[in-house]
Symmetry: C2
Subunit: 213 residues, 2 copies
DNA sequence: CCGCCGACTGACTGTCCAGTCAGTCAGATT
DNA sequence: AATCTGACTGACTGGACAGTCAGTCGGCGG
């Protein structure tokens, strides 16, 4: 077994232990036991307990960041949004242990770490908000406070993933994607749908469908 | 200073310390220092560190539970929903320290405790889901998976409160209530609004208000 | 004034655990 | 065969902290 492999093994072990016990209750002894290695070995690969944890979370963040693409308003918007959702779902569900870790992680632990988590979510929200602003100009996003939409969306996503990782992942993946998309759509996306009744903007009057039966 | 007062003082001190440092980083020594009391005194009022924490969270839960009333579908639904939202907002914003505590709390800490938190949220979601089901029968809630609406709503609420307690509570209270209500309404409530274009349900045709100006 | 009571104190103890380091050993090198 | 190398080991240490308890103190009743 070469160095890289051993390192990975330790990372995996750490991830599992952190995910099941949480950061504090996870002892370095647990991690090395799971990796079937002596304690000293751990310290050959990582300077301390904290840094393994940071490395794990950083990895997840960067994979998540990579999964989210800026929506090109020229192309098929629905497809792109779904693609983004699918990417996020894939990253998170492929590694439930890490997802658990990320979602259930408390600030207050460590100011520096809390700041990192927060800034990640801020980044996501900003990205989302900018897209929504753009969408509003194009008339495919409903009027309203886009930064609140962003917060709302992120919160909803978090909660949904919390549920699906908590209770042994009952929902099939593609269905989750579909449901999430419909949620955004129902919630505030206005793609291929008439604008709603009391809206201040649209100059285009809606056609009224007469009851025909 | 009598016993009850001292106890309260300790609780308050504990709440503040827990909220700023998180459970683990909060030392009993910090709590007693903040309460200007010796360590031994703490143990005259509480059996251990954990139980103060539990007491704090239980208190918040029960106040939250008390703030939420079942919606009576006979009366003014909008007013009742707003009243509920207002109640939740009041409980949470009246004690930002505790709210911080509740929102930023990680499972994995302690299985028993995680279970308690989860079951609280489950209760809220169930209550919400039942109301939404009822709402669907009455035609004031859009079609769709109500348990997902519930999850979505709870997640969004959590996130919004996380934001408003994290960054020194920028939003005025009544505005928050208003925004939250509009969010539910836009998201899936259908009170006093036309059903949306592609909807299968409503037999009752809406009165159409002609532009009169 | 004395003795008692109960609230309060804070130095102390026992435990737990992250991190260390002197030492082992299997192979590569000469 | 002798030496070296570096991955690995695990008993140990040092510090941090939850919880304890023998002792202080102020006030009250006799």
């Amino acid at each position: 077994m070469d160095k890289a492999e051993r390192r990975l093994e330790l990372l995996r072990a750490a991830r599992d232990v952190f995910a099941t016990k949480g950061y504090h209750a996870a002892k370095v002894d647990d991690i090395v036991a799971r990796a079937s290695v002596a304690k000293g070995t751990f310290y050959l690969y990582f300077p301390d307990k904290r840094s393994v944890f940071v490395e794990l979370v950083d990895g997840l963040f960067s994979r998540l960041g990579g999964a989210i693409l800026t929506v090109d308003t020229q192309g098929d918007i629905e497809a792109q949004i779904k693609h983004n959702i699918r990417g996020i779902v894939a990253v998170l569900l492929d590694d439930p242990a890490l997802t658990q870790l990320l979602l259930s992680f408390a600030p207050g632990l460590d100011p520096a770490f809390a700041a990192k988590i927060r800034s990640f979510y801020d980044g996501v929200k900003t990205l989302l908000r900018v897209s929504l602003d753009e969408g509003q100009r194009l008339g495919i996003v409903a009027d309203g406070d886009t930064s609140m939409y962003a917060t709302f969306t992120v919160g909803a996503l978090k909660e949904i993933f919390t549920e699906s990782t908590d209770r042994g992942q009952a929902w099939p993946r593609e269905q989750l994607v579909e449901q999430l998309f419909r949620l955004l759509q129902r919630g505030y996306l206005r793609i291929d749908r008439a604008p709603e009744a009391p809206v201040s903007v649209p100059p285009k009057p809606r056609k009224i469908r007469k009851k025909t039966a």
